[in-house]
Point group: C2
Chain length 424, copies 2
Amino acid sequence: MSDILKPSRRAFLRGSAAAAAGLTAAGTARASDPDPLITETQDWAMVFGDGVDATPYGLPIQYESDVVRRNVEWLTADTTSSINFTPIHALDGTITPQGCAFERHHSGAIELRKQDYRLMINGLVDTPLVFTYADLERFPRENHVYFCECAANTGMEWAGAQLNGAQFTHGMIHNMEYTGVSLRTLLGEAGLEAAGDLSDKWVYVEGADASSNGRSIPMDKALDDVLVAFKANGEALRKEHGYPVRLVVPGWEGNMWVKWLRRVEVMDGPVESREETSKYTDTLADGTSRKWTWVMDAKSVITSPSPQAPITHGSGPLVISGLAWSGHGAITRVDISKDGGKTWETARLAKPGEKMALTRFYLDTDWNGEDMLLQARAMDETGYVQPTKEELRDMRGENSIYHNNCIQTWHVKPSGEAENVEVS
Amino acid sequence: MSDILKPSRRAFLRGSAAAAAGLTAAGTARASDPDPLITETQDWAMVFGDGVDATPYGLPIQYESDVVRRNVEWLTADTTSSINFTPIHALDGTITPQGCAFERHHSGAIELRKQDYRLMINGLVDTPLVFTYADLERFPRENHVYFCECAANTGMEWAGAQLNGAQFTHGMIHNMEYTGVSLRTLLGEAGLEAAGDLSDKWVYVEGADASSNGRSIPMDKALDDVLVAFKANGEALRKEHGYPVRLVVPGWEGNMWVKWLRRVEVMDGPVESREETSKYTDTLADGTSRKWTWVMDAKSVITSPSPQAPITHGSGPLVISGLAWSGHGAITRVDISKDGGKTWETARLAKPGEKMALTRFYLDTDWNGEDMLLQARAMDETGYVQPTKEELRDMRGENSIYHNNCIQTWHVKPSGEAENVEVS
């Protein structure tokens, strides 16, 4: 137990406490110091709190009322076809609670009862079938934690630093534990003998909402890890996440994770729907478009400090924290730069990276009040390294909206405030 | 891809669908069949749903309004000293959303602002210290998923089958991803040289509420895996879970997970407080008490089917599901019996068991409408096997309230209804 006494960090905080008359901004106070910062009488020990009948279903405490999803009014013409961003700047760990997990609709969030829910599997199958919700519950279930990222996440950054906050630059992402039935199981139930050679077949998936949001998925992905999910983080999907059933397409762009899933058609080619031609393709500098850009490449963002999460404690020990993920597998390493990419330190991963799931990283460091150009750079198990904004523009031009996975820069000022900036 | 066509399960559901004129209670319908069970016009594709401005922080959809915590009125004298049980019968996966994670208070849930929060570390330390909330955020953080089980969970079952529902027999448990600072780090900050030999030292931990709920923890546990946590499932602790800071004591009884944590005192022995003498000890048949029964032994429960989650789909394919956990480490195996313990089948673990965290298990089976005496039996990495009620009573008598980890029995009837029963 002797390493408990190792003095490096301890010396700093104890030193600052010992040097102060009262509580210092930089650190911990001695127990005998007065505590001038307390704003309320500490009378919690003299009263009863709320009884258990107060909260059949609990919400965040009133003091956390700013930790909510937010939309950006000018981004879309109508709120039924818009985005509500996850407050990633205020979260920690990896799980995103459903209540503040980003939502993106093309025609609004519909309300569909379980007893009215139907899922049709048709097309090149032996027996077209319609499943009720109760039917789905009778097939073998799986549980997996996966991130879901909108292809447009960070899309406003192609043209330069636009939005001042990790919630808005990188908040079109969430990470939940899904329970559902594999699409492979349901396709097997309908039978795929009629489809013949499966290697060139596709499925077309669509939702029950007005947009239908139809997307084509190659059969090898459909038979690999795609889930027909009915729970997220243990409980029923929320209305805005596709209650009662959504598709989960691990590592692939969020638009393919069809909500209110109503139909899966086995086809001999892709549909080339609006959602995979005029939208969700990337126009390059020469005017041609990248197509079938399904996988979300490795990416990371520092969530704290960040424009919405400034440093408020002055110089000294500082925890830099953020999220990393890759649609190609597990995150293996995250590096952090304080000088806009000139030098790098390797961050600590809170847990070993898991395939297609968010990884939380930390850098336990000291800050002496200097300007920092903070960046994080993710690497995944394929050896891929997250590119700089310049590298990405060199490859893709600046016409794109989707698939911007470049390194993000926050300028942290001596005041502790942070700003979204570009470095060259 | 040829195993997609394997016929066992598929043949059953397709057979039942093909034999029926319309949708059958037992299975899936052909796509061309009429669908007489739909209760509403399926006009979701003709209207816009809710815009993103509707839900800054989302709640479950109205159709899931029965999936909430519930208390048992006769169990305690007052709701400020009572329990709100997790609706485990309606959840799947392993994560428990904070909003429906069980709560247990001794003097109600208090409301404590971050800026008023203080944590004192005193007693046999080199420098007594007081930490603000902001101070805690400057130490290295850890993330872990752990279950928290009240020692009294299943306590009413000592005397026989009492409460008809997994929520009430086993719902004093939740499983969340915690973010916090290790208690070891904070004790190191105060310094433990003054404590001398640490092997016989203890910490006394207490909360800021009226009950204070003080408990003694031996130093080796305090320096091992105990966390001073400020986030659960990514976001701030809810008020009822100890906002802004609670103790997390992995694998040990929930009463020690002190909420609104205000003080940690290093001592040369245990306090033997009310919460560890008149409460949270187990009186044996001979009138003596088991003491220091901190660890929650391996346990499991079938959540579906169960009294609150009957079988509604008739005979045929049935998914039996439940939860298993152990305070001694990872769950390695769960067996399920349909005949009250005479014969056993090994269940499928959704993921390999993780230390001191809930494990979800499934048995994908066929039910032909017969009576079942359903039981689950957990095993952990130490080789421990969950005991029968009879075995536990032989060891402990029937005077106990706490630490009932016996095998639970549900009688599933031909109607699909289930009842809490005892088998001898």
